[in-house]
């Protein structure tokens, strides 16, 4: 069992939990994910690693309630334990492969949106620890929906964007990318985008226009997370890849986002996963 040592709400629907999982914490790298299962009846749910503390043996996850299983996760309390917490899975971020001297000369941009903000944090933090301060664009509909801004400001230059103009740049992240590149003349050598699929699609189109090499972190459906099931198939550059073992990060300019979005909704109308038809067997 894997105990939740701390839990806090980042917004009414998003929680951050630090979970005691020493083996995972010992090997975790930015960009990787874990598979968690709340209890014997639970689904295996992939979640991107948002931070890790090797000494304390904890791994941080951030979860947004969208369906039955994510709601079940968010209903767990400090002191409760996950039945399973397996990982780290997937390949670490490509940034870790770049030689440090080269990395220090690069101008790196992160684009984060929604629950995707937290998974950007370990990458920005890792860069900071290695002498690189990245730019991070965080987008939200309105300022109350921002998460992880304070944390991010400790490790990167943060640029905010809101659709309603309540904070930072007034407009979408694609507009802010344009503003930074075209009007402020920033030349980015590498970009990592993490957020809702639709945001990653359009942000990737924007960076493609400026020729900025771009990686996106996909949150495909998975069962085992180790390469066994193929539920997480995605087409990249015309070839089928498995998000769990070949990713989760892929070249954003080559991902077939429309297919990825369609596949993500495969079980949306399923009796079990739909919140309206789900028959709850929990004690609640």
């Amino acid at each position: 069992m894997y105990t939740i040592v701390s839990k806090r709400y980042l917004s009414p629907a998003i929680t951050e939990m630090k979970v005691l999982a020493p083996r995972v914490a010992a090997s975790a790298q930015p960009g990787q994910f874990v598979i968690v299962r709340t209890d014997e009846a639970g689904e295996r749910i992939p979640l991107t690693i948002c931070d890790y503390d090797r000494e304390a043996g904890t791994v941080t996850i951030v979860t947004q309630s969208v369906g039955i299983s994510s709601t079940k996760i968010n209903d767990m309390k400090e002191g409760d334990a996950f039945a399973d917490f397996a990982g780290p899975l997937g390949r670490p971020s490509d940034l870790l492969e770049i030689p440090l001297d080269k990395l220090r000369e690069m101008k790196i941009l992160f684009v984060a949106g929604g629950v995707g903000t937290a998974p950007v944090y370990p990458q920005a933090k890792w860069l900071k620890e290695h002498g690189v301060t990245a730019d991070v664009i965080i987008g939200a509909r309105t300022k109350d929906l921002f998460t992880y801004v304070d944390e991010m400001q400790q490790v990167a230059n943060v640029h905010l964007a809101t659709d309603d103009g309540s904070a930072g740049y007034h407009g979408m992240v694609t507009g802010l990318i344009k503003e930074l590149v075209e009007n402020q003349g920033v030349k980015y050598d590498h970009c990592v985008i993490i957020g809702p699929m639709i945001m990653m699609k359009f942000a990737s189109l924007a960076t493609k226009e400026y020729g900025i090499p771009t990686m996106v972190s996909l949150n495909a459906l998975m069962v085992d997370g180790t390469g066994m099931c193929g539920a997480c198939r995605v087409t990249v550059d015309g070839e089928t890849r498995f998000t769990c073992v070949d990713g989760p990060e892929f070249d954003g300019h080559k991902v077939d986002f429309d297919e990825a979005m369609r596949r993500q909704n495969m079980y949306r109308n399923n009796l079990k996963t739909n919140t309206e038809t789900h028959k709850c067997h929990c004690n609640g």
Partner: protein, 466 residues
Amino acid sequence: MANKIPRVPVREQDPKLRATNFEEVCLGYDREEAMLEATRCLDCKNPRCQGQCPVHVDIPGFIREVVKGDMAAAASVIARDSSLPSVCGRVCPQESQCEGACVLGIKGEPVAIGKLERFVGDWAIENAPGDDEVRPIERNGHKVAVVGSGPAGLACASDLAKLGYEVKIFEALHKVGGVLVYGIPEFRLPKERVVAREVEAVKRLGVDIVTDVIIGRTATVDQLIDEEGYEAVFIGSGAGLPRFMGIEGENLNGVFSANEFLTRANLMHAYDETYDTPIYAGKRAVIVGGGNVAMDAVRTARRLGAESIIVYRRSEAELPARVEEVHHAKQEGIEFKMLTNPVRIIGTEDGWVKGIECVEMELGEPDESGRRSPIVKEGSNHVIDCDVVIMALGTSPNPLIKHTTEGLETNRRGCIVATEEGQTSRPNIFAGGDAVTGAATVILAMGAGRKAAAAIHKYLSAETDK
């Protein structure tokens, strides 16, 4: 003198009823039936059955005990060579192994060796000693790590534990048993009543099993050796990577690998409404392939309420599945479209499967596998309407360990290169089962695990004497 009676029939759930539930199909022999069937054995001087068993179970030996009604003695005869009799009695392809070699089979029906083994295995489970009755085995102070808790890993760990080694199994998934829990369905191999209890028997030997540890990610093989003090490692990580055909439309919604479909059903209990994991079998499901996995998938889809069809590119004679599974599938109303091969999957406007286009095949000259190779009949394209397609085309070993273990040789199919004894290109690393051979059978994996255990013992004994 052997009893010249016909083979004692085994009771089964009614096909109509069982096609709607996940309970075990075959009900097995009771004590009287087993003892009667056992009397048919000729107790041959040169038992061909034993020679055809990959782990050389003393088949006439255990049957002699069944005849006497001494089930405990029968169980200990089997236990000398096999740690999973209840499993093997259910899933071994007996018709091509022990029963295929039985002298009685030349003119009539072979002895029901599989059903007898199953009976003895189940008897041993029911009459397992309590923890306090087990005499602890003296430990020799040497540590061995086993990667994967499938048949190869369990067999290897059992043998090493019996020899006194301190053995720990590292399992990636949350349940122990590998393909026995994620792959083979409940209706063929009950998980709690059989698999979990045979695993308990392995644990009683002193084997420690940890789940949720993915070797190659959570820790590498070299970390097990260098940091955790294991003197040898056995890799029995199986062949879990599904193959697809590479045809148009394979990423449509409603196309699954058999691995995904079966993992949802078996490991995640998706067919049970009290579990959260969803599964989708559609109204009409086409399963592509002809092996045991294809049969498991098609019968699972049938039980989930879909009209279910097997599409296979060769003829029925070439179906690689066990005869019993094909027979059961037909009884349950599965349609078999032989000499048929998919060329593309057709989708609706919003990206869901609506049909599969196939061509008819005819059999030509035998290919390198010795089977006659199928050739496309020109102009035979036709569409089978369906809303689900499941690909059961075989699996390859997961490349994770290969990528993360320096100096570990693999072949072009991604299988770990190992000798008959399980020795890999690294002196203290051994391997066996599907990770070495590619997808094969439970019993072959078990046999490989046992051979590797012997090789590890030999290696570590020599190292200690140095």
